[in-house]
Amino acid sequence: MLSVRQLSIDIDGKSIVRNSSFSVPLGKITSIIGESGSGKSMTVSALLGILPPGAKATGQALFNGKNLLTVSDKEMTEIRKIHLFTIFQDAANSFNPSVKMRHQLYEFSGRKMGDTIEEFRVKMEGILDDLGLASEIMEQYPFELSGGMLQRCMIACALYMEPTLLIADEPTSALDMVLQKEFIGLLKRLNEQHGTTILLITHDLDIVAEAAHDMVVMRHGEVVETGSVAEVFDCPKHPYTKLLLDSRF
């Protein structure tokens, strides 16, 4: 599905990520775990082609046979539009505050699929209902909804889109414990029921244990360990991974 080889990222000459290699297998939940500043989010930015000005990514990130680091802007827009969906950390700021949710959810899902607004409305209302959200939220503005509701709206778009790869960049760090658990449940459901491949970025080992099949451990911009969650938890090889596991309650 996604194969990252020798990925390096420099910002204004400073090395942020060095020679990272990992794979995201089809139909699985793969988690990248690491402390703040380990280069997890920068890796995601490189994959999505949204690196900040002055940043440069080298290496290879093969997605369905295309190198995401070298594809043209037009191709990247198409990939983002149809094959990828990304849920970011800060749900409260993920939507334009001046536009009603109906329009934004449509732009995030229905319009990309070529659906009419009416087709979108019917399908989205079903999804929202399924997620425990009233259809009235479509007529509300983002600032009228809570962080948890907005994150569920993002999941609703992912459910609508059924993307080839769902990237979730620390999606639960702004949520309380109850909402975190609920959100992870939704991710698992998306994976189990729809077979969506998920790349989950987190710094929380409990979330990895709860949701992921495979894991990638990053530290100081390098991948230090990869493997299935069961393998790594049972027999960690790198001292940092051991430290991470030991620090778990």
């Binding site: 949204i50 990828l84 700021n93 001046s98 995030f108 319009r111």
Partner: protein, 322 residues
Amino acid sequence: MTVKWIGKRMMMGIIVLLIVSFLSFFIMHAAPGDPAAAFYGGNAQTLNAAEKERISRVFSLDRPVIAQYGTWLAETVKGNLGVSYKEGRPVSTILMERLPNTLLLFGVTLFFISIGSIWLGTTAGMKEGSLWDKGLSTVSIVTSSIPAFWLGILFISFFAVKLGVLPSSGTGDIGGEGGFVDKLRYLFMPAAVIILTHVGIYARFLQESIKVESRNYYVTVARANGVAEQVIRKGILRNASIPYLNYIGMTIPSFVGGSIIVESLFSWSGLGQLTVKAVVTKDFPLLMGGILLTGLIVVVSLFVIDLITYSLNPRLRKGDVR
């Protein structure tokens, strides 16, 4: 909610006008010179003390200033702005003769400044780091640093004196038919001076607002998820236009103040020129009328801008921000 908001804004407008009229009235009376003598015009030096006293009594100028203001306010509310000392005609008639010219100059300049600054600011702001972006920053500093009266003199010297293609001053040709084309020839230079000295700074403000808005989290999220670029841009522009509109609102009073200078320079027969003349001749009723009407134009403009901001910003409509 909307009705309450409009009511509140209207009340604020009325309070502003009251304060403006109160301050103007008192500052005017505190200024050196005798209104009774001013009323008499060019032969004021021949007046003796008894005659001055008689004039003061007739026009109630001997009463306390606060009482005079009270009477003026009471009459103004009824629609009577008094009679001009100089012209002997009702102030309202004189103001109504000048108002269309001021509104024409104000409307045309504000229209072109808005169109120009929106086009320039959007083009430059959306392409951060481009030649447009860097170019506008420099151009705006240059244009806003040029004094309007200096540019006006330069224009007169070039277009009127050297080329002889445009009239140097006035609002219409004495021998002309007074039609639209005639008016346009006279309007061109004062309008161009105001537009050129203002468009850059307004465009620069919008450019910066767009750049700040483009760095917002929601823009990255939308872009990363393949939302159509024109939809993202529309969202950015909508949000960036709120501080831009506020900026226009904040600068409207000084914009009107600047127009007064340009009106005087080009002898544009508008409220600005009239007010300046009224100050020179100490024609108090006319001056008060001019100030009040100019204040009203500012208040109404601000109200319209507030209304647009209100419609663009759902937080205001939902009462989230007051």
